[in-house]
């Protein structure tokens, strides 16, 4: 377990990533974008408050705008960090050298993903001061902010797993990045569009279809304070937007809980396949060895153990 977590891959990725000027530049750009959004929204609300007096919704409104933009940024940044982790090694011709070591495929895959997620987590944490602005106005609980950050983390993990999976399947990073972005786009817009279509076809539709819970925006909306959590605009067609209730199938669970369950399954399945694909020789090796020990091999009419057979042949070779 220690080897799995305190891993040289993680160490190298951190070292390589933080060594270049690209990292501080990206953090600056990321925070700059969030700052522009926050200040822009604050400025427009200031104008409105100036004419209409006290605005109790300003805090939650800035919060909602900020969290949605941050989710979009996380969704945009994650594939860029993860969709080339394995294909990049393959292109640089370093993958064979990595697989040749004692590192298991599981360890390589998990640590590559962890290294990317850690950087995205750095971006998310560095955006915390912007959420402090919301506290000037009030209306948002700390627990709600914590939930939002959990949604970010889960979204980053899910899209990260998609990126690592594509990076293992496709030999070229370019292809992997494009496919990852298409899948991310499907999660964000595709599920919403299909849901909106289904809701329009069946106007008496009470809730939203199960796959819509995979959309991180649905999870995000369900964590919003007060009236913001009551519904989300799902009708993207011409005409007035219809608010569809986020009735969870079981009342005790929130939509973001369902999102986490769905994402969890996706992460496990994709990473499992990626591990199997990465090292075709090493996969199931422990299982194979166990079966070989159990299974006797028939040689010249006698039963001998496979390993004994190999030793005999080796001894012949030595002789």
């Amino acid at each position: 377990m220690k080897r799995l977590v305190l891993n040289p891959v993680l160490d190298k990725e951190f070292r390589s990533r933080m060594r270049t000027w690209k990292s501080p530049l990206l953090i600056s750009l990321y925070l700059g974008t969030l700052a522009l959004i926050t200040l822009g929204y604050y400025w427009t609300q200031q104008q409105r408050i100036y004419y209409s007096g006290f605005g109790p919704d300003v805090g939650p409104q800035i919060y909602v705008t900020l969290t949605i933009f941050q989710l979009m940024l996380v969704s945009f940044v994650t594939p860029a960090f993860t969709a080339g982790v394995i294909s990049g090694e393959r292109e640089k011709q370093t993958l064979d050298l990595l697989i040749c070591t004692r590192l298991s495929a599981t360890s390589i895959i998990l640590n590559k993903l962890l290294a990317s997620i850690a950087y995205i987590l750095l971006l998310i944490i560095s955006s915390l001061p912007f959420f402090g602005v919301v506290y000037f106005f009030g209306g948002v609980l700390l627990s709600e902010i914590a939930q939002v950050f959990l949604v970010y983390l889960m979204t980053a993990l899910t899209f990260g797993a998609v990126g690592v999976f594509c990076s293992t399947i496709f030999r070229k990073t370019q292809v992997s990045v494009v496919v990852t972005y298409v899948i991310v786009f499907f999660f964000l817009a595709g599920t919403a569009a299909i849901t909106a279509f289904l809701v329009n076809v069946r106007p008496n539709f009470g809730g939203i279809p199960a796959f819509a819970y995979l959309n991180p925006l649905v999870a995000l909306y369900s964590t919003f304070p007060g009236s913001f959590a009551q519904g989300m605009p799902l009708n993207f067609g011409i005409g007035s937007s219809r608010m569809v209730g986020l009735n969870a199938p079981v009342s005790s669970l929130q939509p973001w809980h369902y999102n986490f369950i769905g994402d969890g399954i996706i992460i496990v399945v994709l990473l499992f396949i990626a591990v199997l694909l990465l090292d075709p020789v090493g996969r199931f090796s422990r299982l194979k060895r166990w079966f070989r020990r159990k299974k006797p091999v028939q040689v010249d009419g006698g039963d001998i153990n496979e390993e004994t057979h190999s030793e005999e042949l080796h001894n012949e070779a030595e002789a």
Partner: protein, 308 residues
């Protein structure tokens, strides 16, 4: 050290390795020779536990390559023909990363890295970025990388490819040093004279099959049918050529500047008879020797240029 039995590797309809059986003794430098597409790299990748054979088996130090890849990776140091490096790491960080990947402790790593850099003569580049190294230095660094876990068997796929003559000589000296350290080495190369000088054993592959294998001497013996006879005379070269034509019934005799060269498949008695007749005929023979086939000649003889 290594025992291969009926090893096959197929990619769809293409047979990259076809029923290969080999044996490499401990401490040997085993040269794997063959044209492009002969199956050398595939064989080496199977031995490095990077590919699964379609059928057949290989054992390294008694361990089945397919059954226990983790153990094999500990026993084998592999250097591929084409490899990349992490440009954003320094030389010592690069070796430290791989040493850590083999589970070596921090304290041991410090010692090993120093020793290896000294061995490959890169101590002065310890703090340099890998990206800044020359091709030859990168090759040596990759060799050092393949040694971080002190493997018993080194598998080097074209380690001297793309190197200038000086770097090739340095690489050759390095491999000799490793041999003296007791390492068993399997090496493939296209630079055949170097292999002949370096290797204790040679195997020639073509189209996935093993054509010939053994010690250098055994291979020469195996291809004895293709030996040549070289004669140098002071003059009367025409008379010497006539005698050779009469004795051997040959027409294809090369005669340049009083030197005669011809293919010869006869016995030592026949050689003696030809020499005696020339001397008795008064031909001033300066030298009379059997031309030794070099590895290049043997390679050309035994391979047919089959491309997969």
């Amino acid at each position: 050290m290594l025992f291969i039995e009926n090893l096959c590797k197929q990619y769809g309809k293409l047979t990259a390795v076809d029923n290969l059986s080999l044996q490499v003794d401990t401490g040997a430098i085993f040269g794997l020779v063959g044209p492009n597409g002969a199956g050398k790299t595939t064989t080496m990748k199977i031995l490095a536990a990077l590919l699964t054979p379609t059928s057949g088996k290989a054992w390294i130090a008694g361990e089945d390559v397919s059954a226990n890849p983790a153990r094999i990776r500990q026993l084998v140091g592999y250097m591929p023909d084409f490899f990349g490096v992490y440009d954003d790491l320094k030389v010592d960080e690069y070796l430290d990363f791989y040493a850590a990947s083999y589970g070596i402790s921090v304290r041991e790593r410090r010692m090993i890295i120093g020793d290896l850099l000294e061995l490959v003569d890169l101590s002065h580049k310890r703090q340099a970025y890998v990206d800044s190294l020359s091709r030859g230095m990168k090759q040596r660094l990759c060799l050092a990388r393949s040694l971080v876990h002190d493997p018993a068997l080194l598998i080097l796929d074209e380690p001297a490819s793309g190197l200038d003559p000086r770097a090739r000589v340095e690489m050759r000296e390095l491999l000799k040093e490793l041999k003296s350290m007791g390492k068993t080495i399997i090496i493939s190369s296209h630079i055949l004279p170097e292999l002949a000088e370096l290797c204790t054993h040679i195997a020639i592959m073509e189209a996935g099959r093993l054509v010939v294998s053994g010690t250098n001497q055994e291979i020469v013996e195996h291809t004895r049918t293709g030996r040549t006879l070289q004669i140098r005379v002071m003059d009367q070269g025409d008379a010497a050529a006539l005698i050779l034509q009469e004795e051997l019934g040959l027409t294809e005799i090369s005669f340049i500047n009083n030197s005669l060269e011809l293919p010869f498949n006869g016995s030592n008695e026949e050689l003696n008879h030809i020499l005696t007749r020339m001397v008795k005929s008064g031909i001033p023979v300066v030298s009379f020797s059997e031309g030794k086939n070099n590895l290049e000649d043997i390679f050309m003889q035994v391979t047919k240029g089959v491309v997969q």
